[in-house]
């Protein structure tokens, strides 16, 4: 990551382009948080690249005064991988959505994460297709009714955090668009993580899917439903910590009254090498309509793909010496004429 001597501010990361998301869109809050956080963490605009695909969230790069590519639908992780491999000096961010990252681009997301490419991937999940005006997405709840599914969605939704943990992503977190403090902390840790960092951000689409995350955002409901994960702490929640997450004999987790939990309560450890516990935790909520964990599910160190690619190049140079083109052309059987 870039180190910074000069003092930069949010303004240095804000482009002169007018932001054109719908008024009230959750994207504004995320943009403001990222623009404030980057200078604070010592990032440099010239060394920062935002790569996106297609969708509302994918307009993000235009509003950052950094380098950026607004690419094609679903392919941002692929472009970002090529850039990260070939340019170790850059901070490469991917901004994607539930349609872009999990539907048309699900394959690229999965492979970037399992390789552990040094990318910070922000998935804005609004459980809807916004740019195409309101069709259901791969994260829309089963039975939800939208333009393309007036009788109710038949697709079982993907839980993005479960998917990321399933391919053993080394950093997996979840936050909420308007919870600036929580989002900042999750993104800060993502930035500091070497390797793929995957952050699902619940983002409200006030036009086509307003209130999808009300259970976690409404004043009177959020304390009952946010399961805030803290490293080293027992996982309890509720206004008076009256509920606890416990491990079941079959490996799953469930929620019980805290007084019944006893020593079965799960102590959160994002550094646990095995992703199994984090995965079980992610299964507590298929869609965030009730108690839902937010925070850092997993944060482990593993060799970073692009570092390994470059290491192989250096090893080859050390073993065979720098490439000699004339010698390469004349390798194998040669013969002289005349």
């Amino acid at each position: 990551m870039t180190t910074n001597e000069g003092k930069l501010t949010k303004k240095d990361f804000t482009s002169d382009r007018e932001v054109r998301w719908c008024p009230g869109c959750g994207d504004y809050a995320i943009l403001a948080t990222v623009q404030s956080l980057l200078p604070e963490m010592g990032a440099r605009p010239e060394s920062t690249v935002f790569v996106s695909g297609i969708g509302c969230s994918s307009r993000f790069p235009y509003y950052m005064d950094t380098y950026g590519i607004h690419s094609i639908h679903g392919r941002a992780p692929a472009l970002a991988t090529g850039l990260a491999i070939s340019r170790p000096d850059l901070d490469v961010w991917v901004v994607t959505g539930d349609g872009d990252g999990l539907s048309i681009g699900g394959n690229h997301l999965m492979h970037a994460l399992r390789r552990n490419v040094n990318l910070k991937i922000l998935l804005f999940n609004n459980e809807i297709y916004g740019l195409t005006k309101g069709q259901y997405s791969p994260t829309s709840p089963l039975g939800s009714t939208h333009k393309s599914t007036p009788l109710g969605s038949l697709d079982r939704p993907i839980n993005p955090v479960s998917l990321a943990l399933g391919v053993e992503a080394t950093y997996v977190a979840r936050s909420i668009d308007t919870d600036r403090q929580h989002l900042s902390e999750v993104l800060r840790r993502a930035y500091q993580h070497r390797g793929s960092a995957f952050v699902e951000i619940y983002q409200n689409c006030n036009i086509f899917n307003d209130g999808a995350f009300a259970a976690l955002k409404d004043k009177d409901r959020k304390d009952h439903n946010q399961i805030r994960l803290e490293s080293g702490e027992p996982i309890t929640f509720g206004p008076d910590n009256e509920r606890a997450v416990v491990a079941e004999p079959d490996g799953s987790m469930s929620i019980v009254p805290t007084e019944e939990a006893g020593d079965r309560v799960v102590i959160h450890d994002p550094a646990r090498e095995e992703p199994t516990t984090a995965f079980a935790l992610s299964r507590l909520a298929l869609n965030p309509v009730g108690p839902t964990p937010i925070g850092i599910f997993r944060d482990v160190d593993r060799p970073v793909y692009d570092d390994l690619v470059r290491e192989q190049v250096e090893q080859s140079r050390a073993q065979q010496g720098d490439g000699d083109l004339q010698a390469l052309l004349a390798s194998g059987n040669v013969w002289d004429v005349g």
Partner: protein, 631 residues
Amino acid sequence: MSDTATEEHPRERVQLHNAVIRFAGDSGDGMQLTGDRFTAQSALAGNDLATLPDFPAEIRAPAGTLAGVSSFQLHFSDQDIHTPGDAPDVLVAMNPAALMKHLEALKPGGTVILNTDAFTERNLQKAGYEDDPRYDGSLTDFQVHEVPVTDLTLRALEGHVERGELNKKGAERCKNMLALGLVSWMFSRRIDETETWLQSKFAAKPELADANVTALRAGWNYGETTEAFVFHYEVKAAPLLAGRYRNITGNQAVAYGLIAASVRAELPLFYGSYPITPASDILHELAKQKNFGVQTFQAEDEIAAIGSVIGAAFGGSLAVTASSGPGIALKTEAMGLAVATELPLLVVNVMRGGPSTGLPTKTEQSDLNQVLYGRNGEAPLPVVAAASPSDCFDVTLEAARIALTYRIPVVVLSDGYLANSAEPWLLPAVDDLPRLSEAFEVTTEPNADGAFQPYKRDEQTLARPWALPGTPGLEHRIGGLEKELDSGHISYDPANHHAMTELRHERVRRIADGLPPLEVEDPSGEAEVLVVGWGSTSGPIRAACAQLRERGLQVARVHLRHLSPLPNDLDELLRSYRTVVCPENNMGQLSTILRARTLVDIKGYHRVTGQPFASDELAAAIEDFGWGEQA
């Protein structure tokens, strides 16, 4: 075989000018390797040569069946040659299926060497023979040598098996080396180089090396001592230009061309690709050359491959992907993004038979329209095509020059024939290769009164600046949405879109202004018939034209390396002949384009058999169009 000395003393060497030999057997019989080794031996003897490997798409089709037959044809000569030869003079058939499949191609009076051990009732049946062709008269027009190849191999390796160095099956597997030894004797080829090669290939298993060398020598000695072989032949060295040579296949030449372009452009090479026949060998070759700073990335799919390449090009690498038709189809949308973002990168298409999965291991030229037009919107890009295996090297460098000079994605067309065929290559001196670093500049300073405009262009080339992430003050965003002239901001303005569309076309058109004049081959200077070709048909067309001239028919020939943009002097040239013939291994893709552009009534000759044209066939077609009924 054309020979100068005929009735010589038995067992003396007969001098030939050229010969075509085809090795055919089961795909597990090692025919490709046998052909490769015979090619290497012929190259060391100084022959000019051209090869045509032909193998099934199935890795191991059922043994003994027609579907499982793999073959390798080699044309070698004491003269300059351009094709792998039409009809073989010698066919080595390791089993009945190989004979069934390839006998038809053999020249009348040609030589057949049969592995009689494989002519069992079961194998004959699998090959579709009702009667044994050795006894039913179907071979009477040929000189047949029945050789118990398997048995001879087993006998030669008896000691090895007794000593437990390999089992009977392993010993049997050396039969291709026995066949190679015998054919090497027939054509007076030295086998010591192959012995050295075997020692190094099996360095970790010396007993295997020894078994193979023993079989190879046994084959040679069998030829030497058996009265059955009355003649053996010699094809002397060809009068090639002085210099150092090696054999090279098209895929190798693309890989070397990419490394050369990286060295000469002083840019790191990034290669992202997904395995596909017949392009994968480029990835394999580059993955071995990481000490040149080459980064290879085997992506999760074709789209990710070109995606990674666009990312690497944005970051300042010489970025390249390669595939074949089905993979190019998947890359189409991303190629459009590369056109819109105006990034320099290369897309290599090693064409194979289509549509869909088509004929993965066979050759065709049917993706010309795909690479020219297969994108949504007006998305023009330059296309260059290689004429021969070694030309793949030069064409790759030329593609890199265009990409870097004009900041544009460039398609390189090769095909299955070029990819796997080999020919001698006069090694270039690295210092003589184009200095690509002078073709472009990386932008480091603002270009508009202290600000940076990513779409403000070079007036001559219309290239936009290549400003790399990491450069302070040049931060900018690019993408697939239409860009405003100069500023590069998103623009939906109608006039701007039209202007940008024209600009993208004009930038491609201007490439033609920098091309050398077309070279027309017309020794008499009086030809009224012109043959125009592109890609791998170059060799067969050249050979066909030479044949026609020998028969007194004056014909001119021009080869197009640049297919987009087409050369500026092409229109005038095509209009100046009475008849223009355009042979293609497709249904007339270039001839349609040329007709539309020049309004000349181009005569197309189209064949898609999965095989390159035979020069006899082409000569007949050209004659028909030029002087025959269709003239």
